[in-house]
């Protein structure tokens, strides 16, 4: 573990926020509307709250094993073979997420900005550009996250301000109409959009101020909850529920609708897409970093630089596995969701429990 790497608490908060907010945010209102109509916000709050225990567990793991990083803890708690299997699951998850992000990004860029350019080129240039960042360590990624964190929040604020003139607040009504049976589906959708905080596993060992870390990480989640809520409600005030249900990227639609008097700011959707690429960039950076770090640990390589290079073609080919948009939306995202359940919820709990039990036995 490199002692020179230091991440401050605000950077960790930013890391959480920028990693979580990414590909999902454009489509989230759509998926929530499909699952829960106008009551999607309940799902956002509930699944946001559901992540908090996981964050507490992750923090506790590192408090139980001070001075060790995730890999050392895993190895000592689970043993080499078992932990390697866990790492492979992690790798699969991160690669699936990375491929999913690259593919969806490519599709959107192709749709909105570059109609004729081959999808492969868009995806490839995206992965390569991020590889340039990912060869460095997590503190650099935390710095990038802090910058995009500011960008994300500023951008959301501007979008909201611009959307206010055309907003119809009564569109939010009626509230709380949906069936309780719709809730699990809604939570499943929303929970996936909270995936990303597991970057804490790699970040916490380098934190400067370990005492207030739990608070910081929870505050990160709260920021995400608020941001998601606001964006969901803004979408509701702009579009009818049927439209949200039928449009895969309602937020882009909201941006398209912005039309200020004087007709100076028109057609903002392209700009939004461009800024959104930068927001995704920080998500992809931490996903890519995590996957290359894991790969290098599986092969016990000292530096993860080689694995970054190896993973460029891997992510690229995985991204092109689904044949069409429907497969991306159904199969690929389902694979990601189920892997996420294991990786985010199950393994940290196992690590934590095993660690506690072992300690009990030793005492």
């Amino acid at each position: 573990m490199n002692k020179d790497i230091k991440i401050s608490n605000i950077q960790i908060r930013a890391l959480i926020v920028s990693t979580i907010i990414g590909i999902g945010v454009l489509g989230l209102p759509n998926q929530l509307a499909v699952a829960m109509e106008k009551d999607g916000w309940i799902a956002i709050i509930l699944s946001g709250l559901l992540t908090i225990p996981v964050i507490l567990v992750i923090n506790q793991i590192f408090k139980d094993n001070p001075g060790k990083d995730f890999f050392e803890i895993g190895e000592s708690n689970l043993g080499k073979i078992l932990f390697t299997i866990c790492l492979i699951i992690y790798l699969a998850y991160y690669l699936a997420v990375g491929a999913y992000i690259s593919r969806v990004l490519g599709e959107i860029i192709k749709g909105f900005l570059l109609l004729e350019t081959p999808l492969g080129l868009i995806t490839f240039t995206f992965i390569v550009s991020i590889a340039y960042l990912v060869v460095s360590e997590i503190d650099i990624i935390a710095r990038i996250s802090y910058m995009t964190y500011g960008l994300t929040i500023g951008f959301a604020l501007i979008l909201i301000l611009l959307a206010i003139p055309g907003a119809d607040l009564t569109n939010i009504l009626p509230m709380i109409q949906s069936d309780i049976r719709q809730l699990p589906e809604g939570i499943k959708v929303a929970l996936f959009s909270f995936a990303g905080f597991e970057v804490l596993l790699f970040a916490i060992p380098f934190a400067e101020d370990k005492k207030r870390l739990t608070k910081t990480s929870i505050s990160g989640i709260v920021i995400v909850i608020v941001l998601y809520l606001v964006l969901f409600l803004v979408t509701l005030t702009q579009l009818s529920i049927q439209q949200i249900k039928s449009d895969p990227f309602p937020l882009l639609m909201v941006a398209k609708l912005i039309n200020l008097p004087g007709y100076f700011l028109q057609n903002l959707d392209g700009l939004v897409t461009a800024i959104w690429v930068i927001i995704i960039f920080s998500t992809m950076a931490s996903v890519y970093y995590s996957s290359s770090k894991i790969l290098s640990k599986i092969f016990r390589a000292k530096s993860h630089k080689a694995s970054v290079l190896i993973l460029i073609p891997v992510i690229y080919f995985l991204a092109f596995l689904p044949k069409n948009v429907i497969q991306i939306n159904n199969i690929m995202s389902n694979v990601v969701i189920y892997l996420a359940m294991i990786v985010i919820f199950l393994i940290p709990f196992i690590l934590f429990m095993v660690g506690r039990i072992k300690r009990r036995i030793r005492q």
Partner: protein
């Protein structure tokens, strides 16, 4: 260093094979309006399998700017096709320029196209599905040929807006409430909410203008309403704020300007039955009456008298429009069902299924409250 060179080489190799999307601006055509008609009689044989006759109108950039070299402000090109996109490709192969529809602002369609539900649904889906087309594109209906509307030039030498005639007419809506612009997004939203929508009607003669509109429900064309009805509907929907009115008062015509018009709908239950009450409030200003010693407007009583008379007239107007919507069209252009959905979800669930049979018999009451605030400079 070697690594660096390698990366540069790879990137330049990839990039140099490309520039797929680069089309210089002057090689593009950016149409601002499109007209869709059913295919013409004379083309029946040539284009057998095509449904529509589609024309694009775009500005002549040679006629723009300081050193304009040409006179004609706009061109119109057309093609027979099954969709806007087919027409686009067809036309663009003919003019050797790429057609880019992002700046499309108006879609004019003839009544024939609008009355065919399948066509309407297809065209709207195409517009909605496309990544490029702006979802704020305005819709217009015309009784005759949409192509003619597009070809229509202004009689006078008025300065034409760069963005085309129809757009400047549409943007002029603040001045006249005789029509209400509607954009694609709103139209689809209204259709989804079982709400009737009104698409402004473009009239080519004598001078091109917009007035009234065609009324639609569930993607079906129901008929036309005139501009007074249109204004009443927009006022009831709070989409407009003012209106001019004149009526006979004590043997002379009094003209007033009404503004700050606010309408509120409310559900009042009348026993078992639903009853909607519109509470409309407005401020008035007298523009013209008559110079006559006997007919001065000096006292509070005079004012109240005018207010009373006016309220009755306005109320009658509103009621007749509502009745037309209920009886003639059975079209809920006022968004009453949507109102129930938002504020009374339980009632909504009950009435939603047979709203078509409930709406015509719905008891809608209009209460008008006029406050005349000013009488101009004259103290008569």
């Amino acid at each position: 260093m070697k690594k660096f060179l390698l990366i540069v080489m790879i990137i330049s190799l990839i990039l140099s094979s490309g520039c797929w999307d680069m089309i210089e601006l002057e090689d593009r055509i950016l149409p601002y309006s499109v007209a869709i008609d059913l295919k013409l009689e004379k083309d029946k044989e040539q284009a057998e399998d095509k449904d529509f006759f589609i024309s694009f109108s775009y500005p002549n950039i040679n006629a723009l700017g300081k050193n304009a070299t040409q006179e004609d402000m706009a061109y119109v090109i057309n093609a027979n096709a099954n969709s806007i996109f087919e027409a686009r490709d067809e036309v663009s192969s003919r003019v050797h320029k790429s057609i880019y529809l992002k700046h499309l602002n108006v879609v004019v369609m003839s009544e024939e196209v609008f009355s065919n539900e399948r066509f309407l649904r297809q065209i709207l889906d195409g517009l909605k599905r496309d990544f490029i087309i702006n979802k704020m594109v305005n819709l217009l209906i015309t009784k005759e040929s949409a192509h003619d509307i597009m070809m229509k030039k202004l009689g006078s030498k008025r300065q034409e807006s760069v963005e085309g005639l129809l757009i400047s007419l549409l943007h002029n809506e603040q001045m006249s409430t005789s029509f209400t612009p509607i954009v694609l997004k709103d139209f689809i939203q209204y259709m989804d909410h079982k709400r009737a929508a009104i698409i402004p009607l473009a009239i080519p003669e004598p001078e091109i203008s917009l007035a009234g509109g065609g009324i639609f429900k569930d993607y079906q064309f129901l008929g036309y309403i005139d501009k007074d009805d249109n204004r009443n509907i927009t006022l009831l929907n709070n989409q407009a704020k003012n209106k001019d009115i004149d009526f006979d008062f004590k043997g002379a015509t009094i003209s007033l300007f009404l503004d700050e018009i606010k309408s509120k709908k409310k559900l009042v239950r009348d026993g078992e039955f639903l009853k909607i009450r519109y509470q409309v409030e407005m401020d008035g200003e007298i523009h013209q009456y008559i110079i006559d010693e006997d007919r001065r407007i000096n006292t509070q009583e005079d004012m109240e008298e005018i207010e009373k008379a006016l309220a009755k007239i306005v109320k009658d107007e509103f009621t007749s429009t509502i009745e037309k919507l209920q009886k003639d069209f059975n079209a809920d252009a006022l968004g009453i069902l949507e109102y129930l959905y938002k504020f009374y979800p339980k009632i909504y669930k009950k009435v939603e299924a047979d709203w078509d049979s409930i709406f015509p018999y719905l008891d809608i009451e209009v209460v008008v409250q006029v406050n005349i605030r000013r009488r101009g400079l004259s103290d008569f």
